[in-house]
Structure formats: C-alpha cells, structure tokens
Subunit: 335 residues, 2 copies
C-alpha cells in the first residue's frame, strides 16, 4: 500500500476510536515508522490491540496529561492512561527542553502504555544534539535468573548519541529476541529460533505459542536478568508505575490499564568538552570501523546505522501488509 | 594474614611510593575490600602494577585534582593522573552532594586510572539513599561485533539502588567474564572456561595467556558490543578522556598515563514518589523472590546480595594471600 494512503487510513481509524486529530497523527506516524524500519512486530500488527483497549477505555482516548515541574532539569508526567506514543512523545520533548536549559534532563512518566520502539524517542533527542537514555518496562516475558516463571518484561536498554552523521542508537532488549517477534511468528504461524524461549514446563521450544505461554530467556544469564531488573526499577518503581510483574499484557489482559512507566535521561554532550565531543566521537567510530573484520563481515556498523539504512531504503516504497492485518484494518474502519 | 596487619603493610607501601597519608588510606581500603568480596582480580594482585606506574610517574602520587562546577548538578573533575581510587572517591562524593542538592547529579572524571570495582562507588551513593550509575572505560579487551581485534574494554555497567535492606548493586562487565579473572588465571597458571575468549588467530582458547593476547567475547553478540561501545562513549568521549581503544593497559603499556574516564549519575529516588520508593521496591524484590525456583536454585538473589554475604563472611577472617603476591609485597616494601 502507498504510504500516504496507509497514513490516511490508519489516522482515520484512530479518529474513529476517539483520539484527537493531533494524537491520531502522532500514533499513525510511529506505527508506520515501525513498518519502515522493518520492526513489523511494533507496527500495524498492534493497531487492533490499541483500538480494542481504547474501546474498553483501558487506553484513555482523551487523556488529560499533566506535566509536573520538579526543577528545571526534572519533570514528572502523569499520562492519565494515554496511548504510550502520545505520552512518550510529550515526555521526550520535555526531556529535550530540560537538557537544553540545564545540561541534564530527567523525565519520569507514569500511567502510560506501550509506546512502540524506544529508538523513536531516542532519535528525537539525538537530532537535537543530545545524549539520551530511554527506559520502559513491559509485561512479564522473562524469568529472573534462578526462577522458572516470567516476571520481567523484555525491558530494553536504549541509548543514543549524536555522531555528526547518522545517530548512534542502541536499542537492546534484555531478552535474547524481542517478544514482538515471537508474537508475530505466532500470528503468522511461523516457528521461532532455537534457544530463545522455554515452554511452560521449562524446556526449550521453537513453537511461538508455547513460548508465549512459557518464558523467554534473558541475555547473558544473571547479567541480562540484572539489567532487566534495573530497567523495571527505573521505569516502574522510580516513576510510580506498575512493576515487579504487574504491568498488564496489552494483548491478553483487559482487566485494567497497563500502567507502564518510562524514564528518559538527556545530557548535553558539550557540557564537558564543547565541540570536541563531535570531533572525538567521529574518531572513535572511525577507529572501530577500520578494525580487521571477522569472517562474514564486510563492514562494522554502529548501533542505529542498519535501521537508518532500512528506513531510507523503504521510505519511497509501498508498504506490504499481510492479508490478516488488512482485514483487521477494514473491520476497525467499519465501526 | 590478619586484616589490620595487612592494612598497615599495604598503606606503608603506598606511603613509601609517595602517596599522601589520606590517599594511601583510600587505596588500601579499596584494595582490601576487593579481597573481602572475593574479587581477587581487583585486589592485591594489582598492588605491584600500581606501584610500578607510580615509580614511572605514569600515576601521579601527588595529584592536584580540580573539580570544576558546571552547575549545582554537574561537575567535571580533572584527576591529574591520580590513582583511580582517589579520583573516583572524590567523584562519587561530589555526585552524591549534587544529587542531594538538586535531585540529580552528573560527574565526569578525566585523566584518571583503573579504580577497582565500580560497585565500591555505587555502594557509597546507595548508602546515602541514592540511585546511581557508574561507568568507566578500560584498555582494549573485547572485539566489537564484526571485528576480530580487541578495541573496547570490558567496560562494566554498574547500577545501584537503595532497597531498605542490602543495596541492590548490579556490576556487569560487557564481556562474558572479567578480564581480571583471566589475568589472575594467567598469573597463577590456571586455565579459563571454554567459550569466553579467542586466541590471536580468532579461535576459542582456554589458555589464559593466549586469551590475553587474543580477544575476549562480549555478552550477547551485537547487544553486548553495543553496550561496551555506549560505556566507552560515556566514560571516554563525553568526559574528555581516552577512548576508541586508546586507553592504555596498566600492566603492559608504560608509554604514558592511562587517561581513563569515569562518569557517575546519581538520582534521588524520592523526587517522584517520595517514601513510596522504598515501600514499592521492597514489594518488587519480594515478588521476584517468591517465584518458583529453577532447577539448582534454592533462592533468588538480587544483584549485590551475594557480594554482601561474602563480605560479611570474610570480614573477620584472615585474608589468604598467594606466595607470589607476598613476595611482591616484601619487595615493594624494601624500596
């Protein structure tokens, strides 16, 4: 489908579900951007879920989002159960302003929901020449080290920095693979790789449905488990949101709002070394890229480079949408 | 050896090498603390290295450490090539003060050296009821994803938070195992585990010496590589220190000071939710601990708990020191 046509259709669906013109636009742009960077697990496959939650008022279509100023650096946002895209969009904007004013920004968001890819928000800060961390928690998917039941989300660690060229954006979930990829495999009837998830009995499975009922494996055992725990504390406990396995699964749990938390930290990279920051990071990247390559590699990419290439490659192409999702879209449009 | 006797001996060695009474005390305490938490790779095995570097004036025994105030939250420290323990000790103290004053502290340290375990500094902030990140870079040990030559250090991610009980302190290097462990195996003639390092030709090796000449493997492939890169940017590029493979190896490279960089971020956890923070983190930990245990686990520990137990267990015991290190100590004392 042509991108502009798709945009019009998706926006209309959000409008029909009660979102304002502006919020519909924000959500549509992020969903389509996920398609453009080939993060399809965070794209249109989620549209029906968002709409279902809006219909049940588990996502508030007309949120009264409040920004509480704690200092010129620190803000606390109550998202009033808005769709995650909207509150995170407001949050990163505030974090950017705070860092521009004082050198460092810290913004906590509570009562939010799934916001798509962390890298979308990191990218905005980087484009304003800031270093940024984005943390968010997520529904149980990962067993803590030593447990056989899921409790942590796939809780990504997202870090971005300007480079003078394409933004450096690391967006690493603490699970071996993203939960969205398992969900998508399940929806499309595909198998998942070996060694990324356990079934309910604690055995390795390649069946996506079994994996969703079981638990995913964290990266690097206790280290990945510890990093997922850190993200849960920063996004959940610190912000005043759900945590410790209480974040609701947006697809399966309709007993209440998700109450996801996000935490953004922004830093002006010039505060310590001025314009040398860009000069030095360029040197840094150059040194890495010049290293002798491992077998199977023609070049060394920094985090964010591949996604940027994909985005540019897809930007003027039609977006291919599976039949199943097209059907969902026409049903959502028919209400 | 009795702890107090050991303390006296080590302190005397630092004094003989020109460190002030106060700096000798700081360094001695950190070195002995590493022994007490069984992080022997960061303990007395390094004493000769520190002294060798002081003798060659690659570590400045009488540094003029300057703290530049950028704002009430942000400070930039020029460590004047001090021993890492001293500058990091001053740095974390400043980061604590900044967060106590404004809710958030950011302290960058340049021209420093190896500072022992990141968790030592995190612990100090946590004991003052703060959340903390400690980043430091290190000499090349890890090949970036796609390269076959070391460039990043084992660059740990260290995060701490108060829990109302024992501090939660995650101190995870981005390599599969710590470089110090390989060094120690080499010094003591032991083998290293399979799958943690490659030899010069790019093949897996269990020979510690070969591993030191080759490269270590990062956790979780491109994710671990990206996290190590992030730590290099935060500690090296942002602070104005060495980076991109230019941090000198303290054991092998006597061509100049190490110029290691550190970055500390401190956050008052009460800024958003007041005293609820401790209430909620207690709940969080309780929920994780109550999960059904995986095979081979009787309990689930949070990061920092095991080290704390080890420390308490060792606190009143004699410290066992290998013959080789005792000999080094008496030689260092004889100058």
């Amino acid at each position: 489908m042509k991108k502009n046509l798709l945009k019009t259709k998706v926006k209309k669906i959000f409008r029909k579900h009660g979102l304002s013109h502006k919020h519909s636009e924000i959500c549509t742009n992020y969903l389509i951007k996920a398609e453009l960077v080939d993060a399809k697990s965070h794209g249109l496959i989620r549209l029906k879920m968002y709409c279902d939650r809006i219909k049940k008022r588990l996502i508030n279509p007309k949120p009264k989002i409040k920004i509480k100023k704690i200092s010129s650096s620190i803000s606390h946002i109550n998202a009033d159960n808005s769709i995650g895209f909207v509150s995170a969009d407001i949050g990163i904007d505030q974090a950017i302003k705070n860092a521009q004013k004082t050198g460092i920004g810290l913004v906590a968001i509570k009562k939010s929901g799934h916001f798509g890819l962390s890298s979308f928000y990191a990218e905005q800060a980087v484009k304003k020449n800031l270093i940024v961390f984005c943390f968010t928690n997520a529904p149980p998917a990962l067993a803590p080290h030593g447990a056989k039941k899921s409790l942590f989300g796939t809780n990504p660690i997202c870090f971005g920095t300007p480079t003078g060229k394409v933004p450096f954006i690391l967006d690493a979930s603490t699970s071996v693979i993203n939960r969205g990829k398992i969900r998508r495999a399940n929806k499309l009837g595909k198998r998942i790789p070996y060694g990324v998830a356990l079934n309910k009995a604690g055995k390795i499975t390649t069946n996506a449905k079994e994996a969703l009922l079981g638990t995913q494996l964290p990266i690097a055992e206790f280290k990945g488990s510890g990093l997922a725990w850190m993200v849960d504390i920063l996004s959940g406990v610190l912000t005043g949101s759900s945590h410790g396995g209480k974040t609701k699964d947006p697809f399966d749990d309709f007993t209440g709002p998700q109450n996801v938390g996000h935490l953004f930290i922004t830093i002006n990279p010039k505060i310590f070394v001025g314009n040398n920051f860009i000069k030095e990071i360029k040197k840094n990247i150059k040194r890495v890229k010049k290293l002798p390559k491992a077998k199977g590699f023609n070049s060394i990419l920094y985090p964010g480079e591949r996604k940027n290439k994909t985005y540019k490659m897809n930007l003027n192409k039609d977006i291919s949408i599976p039949e199943k999702i097209l059907k969902e879209m026409s049903e959502l449009d028919a209400i």
